[in-house]
Amino acid sequence: MKTTTNFKAAIILSVMASIMVACSSNKKPIATDTATEVAGSEVDFKIEKSGAQLWGEVCNRCHIAPSPADYNDTDWETISLHMRVRANLTEEEITKIESFLKSAN
């Protein structure tokens, strides 16, 4: 029993670890490729989402999304860092959303 649980644990944790490693090593090429290939082209507009659009897509995944007017700039800075960590958002997402919230309140 004990050995089987440890075995299962080892398998699942190593699968997780390898996915993480794969993604972190893949990350650079993907980012630079898309950035250079599509820079200035029409596609760029489709890929680069605005802060407002990201706010609409990201901030309602767990709770109803608050409106920019609900908080002042200082509060949005604290909330953005809190949500970046709690919701495990990417730096790109939270940076764009934070500037949208601060510009539209």
Partner: protein, 380 residues
């Protein structure tokens, strides 16, 4: 003279204005409260009560763009007693673009319900699904350290969290014989040298972030005290979770689907049952599981201001505790709700819930419990 006064006046004015500059460090006091009324019919026995109110202040302190502290206190009136709790208290530091470290007591990313969805102003129903909360099988919070972060895969996104914590304690039955073999995740003091190791990987395959799949694992080599018979009783838990939230124009509203499956495997051990003064050893295959899925719909595109604020919810959940344990149980539950949202964080919830339980703590037969709930929750 007038010039001097004017001069002084304007510098004083300038100083006053200066205090409106945002400070580098920021402190925020937020939180939520909830209360309600419930009517329960348990196998023909009725009871009704206004529930003790809960007040949960949350303290957020942002020291810099990278360093932050969060803590939540919980005050709850249970009967005549004021129960207090420290839901979490941890410090987080952004190491780089893809890595944040957290240390302290934090909510565990084992699936998503406890970490992201359980606060009363987020949970669409007044109750938790079976398997979570008191006597639940999913770990909710613990003390330790965690690394987490997210990657943009050029459309899809991936996030991860790995943590080491003190881990649970096994209930050996010496205090509560009817709970022998249960894992106690609320026992924060470390009972042994072994630590619990866990993690979650979340994948958002669609570029609009509407869907997230998550897989979590949690393992420990020892759940008993160093000098006890239960020292070598290890445990392995895993979970799968799903979230899908999308605004669908033909449906005039937002569809929100949530689901989580939890599985818990604890190494087999011998427990003792006292019958007629004699201690009888017994053992069982210590495997439990639970599952829930929830669908909610809010017609936010409706032309009517009243209908816009409504939300319809349905949830199914089940829970299976090991056969042969004193706490052997098979339960299924259906819950239906109608919510009225007063703001993005305050809601009045009306719900009906029916639970069928075979076995359980203090009964052998099947018990059916029907409940009507009216709850309100407000975040601030």
């Amino acid at each position: 003279m007038t010039l001097i006064i004017l001069g002084l006046g304007s510098s004083a004015l300038a100083q006053t204005y200066n205090t409106f500059e945002p400070s580098k460090t920021q402190f925020m006091l937020r939180g939520y409260g909830h209360t309600g009324f419930e009517y329960l019919d348990t196998g023909g026995e009725q009871e009704s009560t206004f529930l003790g109110a809960t007040f949960a202040p949350i303290f957020l302190y942002k020291h810099s763009d990278k360093l932050m502290f969060e803590a939540e206190l919980e005050f709850e009136l249970e009967g005549n007693e004021l129960k207090t709790g420290l839901e979490y208290a941890d410090v987080m530091y952004v190491l780089n673009k893809h890595m944040t470290v957290r240390a302290g007591k934090f909510l565990l990313p084992f699936g998503t319900f406890m970490e992201r969805l359980h606060p009363a102003w987020i949970n669409r129903l007044p109750s938790r699904p079976l398997g979570f909360g008191h006597d639940g099988i999913a770990p909710a919070s613990d003390i330790g350290v965690e690394l987490r972060g997210a990657f943009d895969l050029g459309g899809p996104k991936l996030n991860y969290a790995v943590y080491v914590t003190n881990g649970p304690r096994i209930k050996d039955g010496s205090e509560e014989p009817e709970e022998a073999g249960m894992l106690d995740f609320g026992y924060y003091e470390d009972v042994n040298k072994a630590k619990a190791l866990g993690g979650r990987i979340g994948l958002l395959p669609l570029s609009d972030s509407s869907m997230e799949w998550g897989i979590s694992a949690y393992t420990t080599n020892s759940t008993g005290a160093e000098d006890s018979d239960y020292k070598d009783v290890g445990a392995f838990l895993w979970a799968l979770d799903l979230s899908y939230v999308k605004s669908i124009t033909p449906l005039q509203g937002v569809v929100d689907i949530k689901a989580q499956y939890n599985s818990s495997n604890v190494d087999t051990a011998t427990y003792y049952e006292i019958e007629d003064g004699i201690s009888e050893p017994y053992s069982f295959d210590n495997q439990s599981s639970s599952f829930y899925t929830q669908l909610s719909y809010s017609p936010i595109m409706s032309g009517s201001d009243f209908i816009k604020q409504l939300e319809f919810v349905g949830r199914y959940s089940d829970f299976n505790a090991p056969e042969g344990a004193e706490w052997e149980e098979k339960s299924t539950q259906y819950a239906f709700g109608l919510n009225y949202w007063l703001s993005w964080r305050s809601v009045v919830k009306f719900s009906y819930q029916t639970t069928k339980m075979e076995g359980g703590h203090d009964s052998d037969g099947t018990t059916r419990t029907n409940g009507l709930f009216v709850h309100w929750a407000i975040g601030f």
